[in-house]
């Protein structure tokens, strides 16, 4: 047992970088190569419904709708932020725990 990252850990760290990189590339490629409006897919579905059945009227409306696109993106951003916060907290806690575990293992070995 030593403090330095093992080869295995280094390989995992490299893999994690590649994973993040690949996700970013996948999101950027369409923006660069495909011209589109980049609207939502569910908006398109609503349009498709009105093409198939022109007489259809939504029979129920939202109780609450974000006042503007800005408010909506704020709410979406907070949703992502809350989730990311929890993920960071849990992974950070686990990491700290496994490191202090490792340190106490080292001490008992010495």
């Amino acid at each position: 047992m030593n403090q330095k990252p093992t080869k295995n850990q280094q390989a995992t760290a490299r893999q994690n970088w590649l994973l993040v990189g690949a996700v970013v590339v996948l999101a950027v490629i369409p923006l660069v190569f495909v011209r589109g409006e980049y609207g939502g897919a569910d908006g398109q579905a609503e349009k498709a419904i009105s093409e198939i059945e022109p007489s259809y009227e939504p029979w129920f409306n939202h109780f609450f709708e974000p006042a503007s696109g800005e408010i909506e993106s704020l709410l979406f951003a907070s949703q992502a932020a809350m989730g990311a916060g929890v993920i960071g907290y849990v992974i950070g806690l686990y990491k700290g725990r496994s490191q202090s575990q490792q340190q106490s293992d080292n001490k008992t070995l010495e």
Binding site: K4, T12, N16, W17, L19, V20, G21, A22, V23, V24, L26, A27, I29, P30, L31, V34, R35, G36, E37, Y38, G39, G40, A41, G43, Q44, A45, E46, A48, I49, I52, E53, Y56, P58, W59, F60, N61, H62, F63, F64, P66, G69, E72, S73, L75, F76, A77, Q79, A80, M82, G83, A84, V86, I87, V90, I91, L93, Y94, K95, R97, S98
Partner: protein, 268 residues
């Protein structure tokens, strides 16, 4: 004497460089994830989920009735897990948070429109599919009440596609592939397919409710699937990759929890 000092300085410098490198890697990862979140959430306005009022009453009711039993079974299984292994609550929160983040990320796709991943695969692999019926339903409820995204009347249908079909697909694909190949490959495929099948299910639901005048169900299905499912292919790949990323973290730092969960699986 000066030589000793020099050696000491060099060795301590080398040590701190290594420590710094590790710090940089983890900082970089956090920065990468946050950048990704910020960039991806900058694209405005809705994607996916059947919008409020866009399913006829009888279909909306039908999907509510179909989804409810799964939700109740999920509640019971969450109660059992937290009672038997209270230390797993944190991991449960992580699984919920992962869905929460991923379903807030509206990502541009090759079709020139945006949609978002579902993030249900991870929790289904960790805790089993019925748990995700509850966690997914919470995410959908949050989005339909606060974000006007999806809807209360269509919540049953959206629950069935995202919180039930997706997780069950992930669970079965994972266990099928685990026997044949590597665990990471199994996780990737499970998460990606869960994502994709969620949208295939959404297309089926819409096609059932709105069969085309000529061509009927199939014509409608192809129309909706070409909107939802094709947009979803690159996103499904992204979701698979991100699920493996979180799995890697858990594998490095959360070994005790993963061991407990393996026991859980053997018991049940």
């Amino acid at each position: 004497m000066p030589a000793d000092v020099f050696v000491y300085l060099v060795s301590s410098a080398r040590f701190s460089v290594k420590a710094r490198n590790r710090k940089l890697v983890s900082l970089g990862l956090m920065a990468g994830l946050s950048c990704y979140i910020v960039l991806a959430s900058a694209t405005p306005a809705a994607a996916m989920h059947i919008s409020e009022g866009f399913l006829p009453v009888q279909w909306a009711a039908f999907w509510w009735i179909v989804a409810l039993p799964f939700f109740l079974v999920g509640l019971r299984s969450i109660a059992r897990i937290t009672k038997e292994h209270p230390e797993l609550k944190l991991l449960l929160a992580l699984a919920g948070a992962f869905t929460f983040v991923l379903s807030a990320l509206k990502i541009p796709s090759v079709t020139g429109s945006c949609s978002h991943p579902t993030g249900t695969g991870l929790g289904a692999i960790l805790f089993g599919p019925s748990v995700m019926a509850v966690l997914g339903a919470l995410v959908l409820l949050f989005q339909s009440v606060l974000l006007a995204h999806g809807g209360l009347t269509t919540l049953g249908a959206n629950m069935f596609s995202m919180a039930i079909v997706g997780p069950f697909a992930a669970y079965f694909v994972y266990h099928l592939l685990l026997r044949t190949g590597s665990q990471r490959a199994a996780i990737f495929c499970a998460a990606a397919l869960a994502d994709l099948l969620t949208y295939v299910m959404t297309s089926i639901q819409l096609a059932l409710a709105f069969p085309a005048a000529s061509g009927g169900f199939m014509a409608s299905f192809i129309k909706f699937a070409s909107i939802f499912a094709i947009t979803q292919v690159p996103l499904a790949i992204s979701e698979g990759l991100l699920t493996v990323l979180v799995w890697n973290w858990l594998h490095s730092y959360g070994k005790p929890e993963l061991e407990t969960l393996k026991l859980l699986r053997q018991e049940s």
